[in-house]
């Protein structure tokens, strides 16, 4: 273990510990804000885990998020709380495996459209089921979970997702994902089982998203398909990951935190124009920072120090 590694680990633990102590000082509004923010950080990390290196742009985030929330709503009176999360995670995993097997052959824009369609399909299916079978559209969730409890769970999930993303990025699996993103033909000819790698990572990323939905659900008290499966969640997650840089460990965090705060401020101050401004921000990010801020800063740095980069030998 190098000193740098120890330093990074201690910094990580210190940050998580500091965040864990936050509810002891924060106001109720502060906790609400942090729950929302952590939720998006976890979603963005989960999204980038699969879509960052493989470049399979997924708009199915809210499909899994919604499945988590709905599982929580449906089983909240039957299952004990921690078990509820486990069941939600398993359902998310099951759906991800089925969907992944069917779709990971699709490439490029077809995959994007499919994932968007998937989220809508699940929303319509749930709506149909609720209207025709149960007879009511909405559901109430009464669970004895405090806001602090939700916050800590989300923090644990985010920390776990971050740690996984870190471990994967330095492992063989991380390299396999990068190669798949670059050229699937080379990947398979080098001995990478691309179908399995893609499916595994898609499922892992989906489970994280499902758990975010399941953990956050009790905050809403009332859910209906249009809330749980709101496509904006998918778009926000995507744009947050892109802003930070989906190929970098810190990217999703650096994208999710400022954008979440910005969106909060916008929805409080410009409730009527929120969607318009949101759209403009999307377009700006895609045009100006297609590879994320981190990449932009590094490139800018390299331009100012032109001699340093090309001659440098990889150590």
């Amino acid at each position: 273990m190098t000193p740098r590694f120890l330093l990074e680990i201690s910094a990580f633990i210190a940050v998580i510990a500091a965040l864990a102590l936050l509810p002891l000082f924060a106001s109720p509004y502060g906790i609400t804000l942090m729950i929302g923010m952590l939720g998006y950080v976890a979603l963005a990390i989960g999204w980038a885990l699969f879509s960052g290196p493989t470049r399979y742009v997924s708009l199915a985030t809210v499909a899994f998020f919604g499945i988590g929330a709905y599982t929580c709503a449906v089983f909240s009176e039957v299952l004990a709380y921690p078990l509820l999360l486990l069941v939600a995670g398993l359902i998310g995993l099951g759906v991800a495996l089925v969907v992944g097997l069917a779709t990971l052959r699709l490439a490029g824009v077809y995959f994007v459209i499919f994932t968007f369609g998937l989220a809508e399909l699940i929303r319509q299916l749930v709506t149909w089921y609720e209207v025709n079978i149960t007879g009511t559209l909405g559901r109430y969730i009464f669970l004895p979970v405090t806001p602090e409890g939700i916050y800590w769970q989300l923090l644990a999930l985010t920390a776990a997702a971050f740690a996984m993303s870190w471990a994967i990025s330095r492992s063989r699996l991380g390299l396999a994902l990068k190669v798949i993103g670059e050229d699937e033909v080379v990947a398979s000819h080098s001995g990478i089982d691309i179908a399995r790698v893609k499916l595994g990572l898609f499922a892992l990323s989906a489970v994280i998203m499902t758990l975010v939905g399941a953990i956050q659900a009790p905050r809403w008290t009332y859910v209906e398909p249009s809330i749980a499966f709101n496509p904006t969640v998918s778009f926000l997650t995507l744009i947050m990951a892109l802003l930070g840089g989906a190929n970098r460990l810190m990217g999703p965090i650096l994208g999710a935190v400022p954008l979440f705060l910005l969106f909060e401020w916008l929805s409080a101050n410009f409730p009527n124009h929120y969607s318009i401004i949101l759209g403009l921000i999307f377009i700006t990010i895609v045009f100006v920072l297609p590879n994320g801020v981190l990449d932009f800063i590094e490139k800018g740095w390299a331009r100012r120090l032109p001699v340093a980069k090309p001659a440098e030998v990889h150590k």
């Binding site: 390299l175 080379v186 398979s188 080098s190 001995g191 990889h314 150590k315």
Partner: protein, 242 residues
């Protein structure tokens, strides 16, 4: 000598077009065999089927006692088959070293970390590319990308190496270096099947040639003999030259 690579009745159809038609040949262990033929005769399609990039419509491919046809490319790669591509496939945003590490990490050697990095550098040295190790693969010249692709194929520790016009586009000096490089591989016991148009290289390297035209094998003989076969001359130059 018992055949190492055995291709029998290999056929590939694309809709109504039969790109490869009932092709059979074999390659012995340690042999360098040229796969020749005019453009569009199905050579690359044959390599694509051996490496698993395309599934055969019919026929069988076996390496030693293992049946390759029907396996996916990653499984064939793990059986010890490596290849280069006619149009170079670098992984442009990875470094040159990383490009080679890919084959080490997922190939038969399963090397990772420092061991993989050292081995990758050794392979790059072998193809004369060690001085570019830290660069982005996308920044290399075309020739250097070809070298890198060969280093990647060699890093997979192949038993059978498929070269698809690897020597095309080299200048005379580079060609000599390239020929020496491939000759050097032979002494390390690798079996090579190469699609090539550079006659100088074919004469220098291949003991035997399989020649195709319009998907059908028209000759399979020691190089000099195969190249002077009337059917081959006709296929390349037309009737009056035969």
């Amino acid at each position: 000598m018992s055949p190492f690579l055995q291709v029998s009745g290999l056929t590939r159809r694309f809709g109504g077009l039969v790109a490869v038609n009932d092709l059979s040949f074999s390659v012995a262990k340690g042999e360098i065999v040229g796969l020749l033929g005019p453009n569009g005769s199905g050579k690359t399609t044959v390599l694509n089927m051996i490496s698993g990039h395309l599934p055969p419509s019919d026929g069988q491919i076996a390496l030693a006692d293992t049946r390759l046809s029907g396996l996916g490319p990653h499984k064939i790669a793990r059986q010890g088959v490596a290849r280069t591509f006619q149009l170079v496939r670098a992984l442009p945003s990875l470094s040159v070293t990383e490009n080679v590490i890919v084959a080490l990490a997922f190939g038969r050697k399963r090397l990772w970390g420092e061991a993989a990095r050292l081995e990758a550098l050794k392979r790059l040295e072998q193809v004369g590319l060690a001085h570019r190790a830290g660069q982005q693969a996308g920044d290399l010249t075309y020739i250097d990308q070809k070298r890198m692709e060969l280093a990647r194929a060699l890093a997979a520790d192949p038993q059978l190496l498929l070269l698809d016009e690897w020597l095309a586009g080299l200048n005379p000096t580079e060609l000599q270096t390239g020929i020496e490089l491939i000759r050097g591989l032979k002494s390390s016991g690798i079996t090579i099947l190469m699609v090539e148009h550079v006659m100088e290289a074919i004469r220098a390297l291949c003991g035997r040639c399989v020649i195709m035209n319009a998907g059908i094998k028209i000759a399979d003989a020691p190089t000099a003999e195969a190249l002077s076969d009337p059917a081959v001359v006709t296929a390349y130059l037309g009737e009056q030259h035969a």
